[in-house]
Point group: C2
Chain length 137, copies 2
Amino acid sequence: MDLYFSCSLTGGRGDQPVVAALISRLQALGHCVLTAHLADASAMAADGGLSPEAVYERDTAWLRASDAVIAEVSTPSHGVGFELAYALERGKPVLCLAREGVRVSKMLTGIRQPGFQVRTYRTVEEALAHQEAFLGR
Amino acid sequence: MDLYFSCSLTGGRGDQPVVAALISRLQALGHCVLTAHLADASAMAADGGLSPEAVYERDTAWLRASDAVIAEVSTPSHGVGFELAYALERGKPVLCLAREGVRVSKMLTGIRQPGFQVRTYRTVEEALAHQEAFLGR
């Protein structure tokens, strides 16, 4: 599948190790991760060279082209929230993953749209298991 | 006009004084602010009694009913990002206000849709002036 992975960049990259593990597993399973650059610890630097318009146009094109969206939502992010709404408007299946114990916006946890789910994890292994269950539906 | 004001709740309320000033001015000008509870320092507590589904249903209904959206975007927020995309999909005019110097997601600053604008401010007075210019278009 062609997958769009979404996570906080501007707001902080504290979840980068789990993001890297999730993206790496998706690729190992044979999926195409359109946003694979997010696995890189220097993703901010990579995007730093692009104009805001270029980032917006690229990311919304990738969202439209994707079969499903997976988002790490432990760190608040305008971009991730925007992308989730954009994807849902286009009927994409969406999985949100959050570290257990973090407070996630009710605008996400309150969504009752078919194909949308929020799951919490304690370990990277749990996050990977949620991701595989989502893809295996 | 019926206005939807949007700002970070879960991710932090550091911008609450400017939010309160912006909402208060809108009301003084005779507008109906659907989310006027955000002006209250205890807005989190107020929402705390509502289920996530109830918050999501209420806020998306208000977005659909609004004539325009004003968002304070200095603090990253999944909910605000989600609401901005939801509003743009429905053709609502949107003003984003950010404190000068904060880094705002390129997914917002890169939007080139008619009726969408991001403005920075150094003082509450500047934020109020941006808001009035937006409403006076």
